[in-house]
Amino acid sequence: MNKNHRAPSSHSLGTVEVKSKFGAEFRRFSLDRSKPGRFDEFYGLLQHVHRIPNVELLVAYADVHGDLLPINNDDNYCKAISTASPLLRLFLQRKEEADYTMFGTDSMTRKKNTVLSAVLLRPDTNKKKPPVIISLPKDFRPVSSIIDVDILPETHRRVRLYKHGQEKPLGFYIRDGSSVRVTPQGLEKVPGIFISRLVPGGLAESTGLLAVNDEVLEVNGIEVAGKSLDQVTDMMIANSHNLIITVKPANQRNNVVRGGGGVGGGTTSGSSGRSSDSGASFYGYSSHGASASAASHIIQNFPVGELDSDEEEEDLVIEAGGEAEAIGHAPSSYSIASVPRYEPHLNLRTNPSSTYSIHTNGTLPGSSGSLNNTNADSATPSPDRAKERRSLEEEGTVITL
């Protein structure tokens, strides 16, 4: 923010110079810093000044650090305008030719002028030090995530594994075991379910979030206490397309420590000595009251509608002589269930303007939903593609023969 303060002070007029480059052509114009307008207006302006009214564009700018960052919604547009000092350098690309690998740290300083050529020539010029390549989140499919960090005790970890019908096996085994709990009567040995083995190359192993001897406490929000190994196995397999398991890691040194700021995901784990087994385990086990409050969190975080709707992977129906089609939902009955989409929990902490941006994203089909996350926290790329696909299907594009 300091830089923001500095910028207007040096340019009393309050205008921002814009230098926009599309291919080999430059355009220069200026904008009112105090009234930047909205992104779609800006986007139209760019098309206008470059005289490319029907070309889909990818807009990027160089920020004060020389990083190439995208502009695709009101938020990052405002940010770009407010931080421009004094010149706002824009780089336009045709969407179909877009090269997302150019975004990222130091992308501008690697080569002075033409980022694009630098990227294109990279194999030759940067042999010694391959650059860190950061893609757009939408190019990734989420594989796993730690969720509900804010409501779980620090000694617990809730891990979500996304199976998505891929070939990679989930790849872990569970076993019976015993764990020690703190009760009002003192320490008590109780049976529990533990991860016994990780299959090399499996999803569970590749995430690094689960380990052998982690105790399984919940499966998709349901406590496993009192359930047999076979029951828990069946529960996990039944939820395998979208498995959320809450574990108490055997290794308690890598726990997420909740900072005061509330943005938990990014905090590192170095000072883990502080993550205090004693206090936190007491939270989880001590009394019925504690477990009851945990249960209420579960309800809050897994509304029934969400559990129901986030799963599918629909059943396939093949009609006589036809091709396989995913089964759509009968619109009447699912009208309510389909509305609450899965929103990543981290979104709960983003500022109000980002929720506003969700609406405006509608004008940018294809990149919707994913980019607003870059503002919040790119560690958890979220709403998955399957969801988008389904929302389309719900609009009635399913054709059955």
Partner: protein
Amino acid sequence: MLLCFLLSLQTVEHGFPHQPSALGYSPSLQLLAIGTRSGAIKLYGTPGVEFMGLHDENAAVTQVHFMPHQADMVTLLDDNSLHMWTLRRHKGLSELLEIGRFMLMGPPGAPPSVTRVTAVLPHSSGELLLLGTEGGHVFVVEVPGFRELEERNISLDQVSNSVPVDYIGRRNLEHVEALQENPTNPSQVVIGYGRGLMVIWDLENQCAIQHIPATQQLESMWWTEDGSYILSSHSDGSYCRWRVGGQEETEEEEEKEKSDIPYGHFPCKAITKIVQLPTEEGPPFLLFSGGMPRASYGDRHCITVIHSKTHVALDFTSRIIDFFVIRDGLEQTGDPSVLLVLVEEELVVIDLQTEGWPVIQTPYLVPLHSSAITCSQHVSAIPLKLWERIIAVGELQKTHYSKKPWPITGGQNLGPDPPQRDLLLTGHEDGTVRFWDASGVCLYPLYKLSTAAVFHTDADPNDNLNQSAEGEWPPFRKVGCFDPYSDDPRLGIQKIHLCKYSGYLTVAGTAGQILVLELNDEAAEQTVEAKVVDLLQGQEGFRWKGHTQLDVREEPVLFPPGFQPFTLVQCQPPAVVTALNLHSEWKLVAFGTSHGFGLYDYQQKNNVLIKCTLNPSDQLALEGPLSRVKSIKKSLRQSFRRIRRSRVSLRKHHLQEANARLEAELAEMELAPVQRKIEARSSDDSFTGLVRTLYFADTFLSDSSHNTPSLWAGTNGGCVFAYMLRVPAVEHRADEPVTAQPAKEIQLMHRAPVVGVVVLDGHGAPLPEPLEVAHDLARSPDMQGSHHLVVISEEQFKVFTLPKVSSKMKLKLTAVDGSRVRRVGVAWFGSNCKEDYSESGLIFLTNQGDVHVVSLPHVKMQVQYPCIRREDVSGIASCVFTKHGQGFYLISPSEFERFSLSTRFVVEPRCLVEVPLHLDSSNPHRAEPGGATSAHRCVMEHALLNDESEYSKAERNETQI
């Protein structure tokens, strides 16, 4: 929903108790009691009169004795505890209650053998119990309070002091083997010691009256009715008759004469029990068990009955537990009329008054497992016509039974008449199907169908009959129907479907055979046409390593009246038939195996459709049941799991050891961790092509204006196939072909096995059965509103719209609580208050043993009851549901437990047993109702007081539990 909370789900047990261990009989109550090794005690009277009790100790019942002329009963368990039970009247019905327990306490420091009870004699006064022990003492206990009367005990010292010096040098007399009361003098009892010595003891004067110096190990004793003789049986297969009283010296030669080893010359096995009963005119009946020549017939289970010139050795198929004889007359003092034998696997009742001593058909306690049960089907509300025909053909099979009425007639059955006629069909390993009357408390056998005659089997049908040759010694006669040995396991019945309206029956078996049978009241000789169906449809890479298909008899076979097969389909490969359905209106049979399914037109006798569901990568299904590698691994794992579970369940009974148990269990787990792989199901899993369910429906498959017949098949891999059928109109049915064309295929993404498919009509009610509407027994389905498809997988219930299949509602089961659907059925729940109102629902059983009800059409969970222990895998697998919210499952190989979720249909015993006032000769005017004297009243009050104290005792017992 029309359900209420039930206190007890289980209502009654049908069949024969598993592992019986003791038998008792009360001549005055006319009740029979059977104790089992698991500590259960069951009482039976006239059909419908049944009581059941369970000892808290999980110990075997070793002896059951009724107190003479009372409604009390004493049981001895093998943990040496004695229990007093009584039949108490409560709200107009009798209940069996445990009212007291007792453990014999010896003097301090005495070894446990001193008080280990080996013989029990309820004294005819009804007030005393004589307990003979391993230490050789006889303890006298006052009942019902179990008060020890120490001064009346007969100690070993008292007896041995009086033993004549010449009796084998006063060696140890050993334990008390038997106790008998003198039938003519209640103050005299005879004590039989293991060594062989018998002592007649006077209870009043506390002294020995007579010594009977037998020298062989004693097995049993019997005091003849006139009181003049005592019979003793011995371990060397001999029995002796001893004269009581009189001058011992002069009778000695006579005694010698009376000793006999009936199957002698070569060493014989012990005679374990001997009974002699007089007849009014003519010679007495002599009955004894055992005594067979050890080398040649030592493995037979025999009871010998000798009467005059008739001598028969009844040869049973399982071990003899005990036997008794029922005698004529009100007071049971007349001629012997019926011999009742409890063997390990059945109850055999023999009519001793009819020529040839035929067997009497038992109305209950029928061995369901005479051949192991492999499957069952329940058919509700059988039309009277079919019912009568089945009974008629069944009667023809029962001609060899005695016509004598059932001899055990105690108690009154107060239960209402069953509201409808229900049939339970059980399929057996030997290829038979048995038809049972399941309408009421007694599961009564109606008819038995054998399918073996259609095939060539190794067994010659003639060699099983009585092969007793003339002049054979001992004169054996086979009795009983328990025969666990199957000639050919391929004959085993796996699926049954009976259409109650048309009388068509289809059964399918282990070797892929499907028979369609028709009820015929006449015997008929016919050839059964076989049609081989290749379910593989050219699938490559196949090697069936399982059993071969059955050979069909090509010549005509004479079928007795009853269900006669007229067509046969044989699947190729001959794998077990896993799904079967019959549509009698369209005359079609659908069948499925692990390789695919087919549709057969049994009118035109040709095949309409064959569909292979096999996944080419599914090696296990390809190779058949004999594939080794995986199955051994699997079975090992399963058996280990079973061992562990049984250990766990055994320990359950000791609450006080809970902590220690937990420790041990955890230690055990740590030693041998059982692992489970967590992996999403894929299409490559084994047996995904196995057909789990087949269903016929007349519904909207292609468009919403025309309903057509359809066939639905669900597989283990979560796939549902739908075929549109074209069934010609009735007048062209015989000549125009039936066709089937694929219409839809639904792949459930969760890939769980599909265990049921149901189509709901416009009102959301399940479609009626074929011919149900034609017989005016069901409302015709609503074809105006849109139909819905309910697919029940092991994990979820899903409702889809029709004809365009789109998901409408679902209910997840496994994802939420980890249980899986094992059995499912459609049930109608009638209202308790309104006669004509009922609702339909799905009733299902999970692998956790819980019964749930799910409403239709909204698939909402309604109720859940724990029903079967989750460890009881065979019980869960055997469960069948009725159409009215009841169900059956096997609690042992030989017993069905019945349960009910419906308030309207509950079948349970409701009966009353009244204790007949004991007629002393001094009290002849019992019949006068108003003539109660003050003394009588006093007795009554006393009884009431007693009742109260006993009642509080019973309550205390309960709270202790």
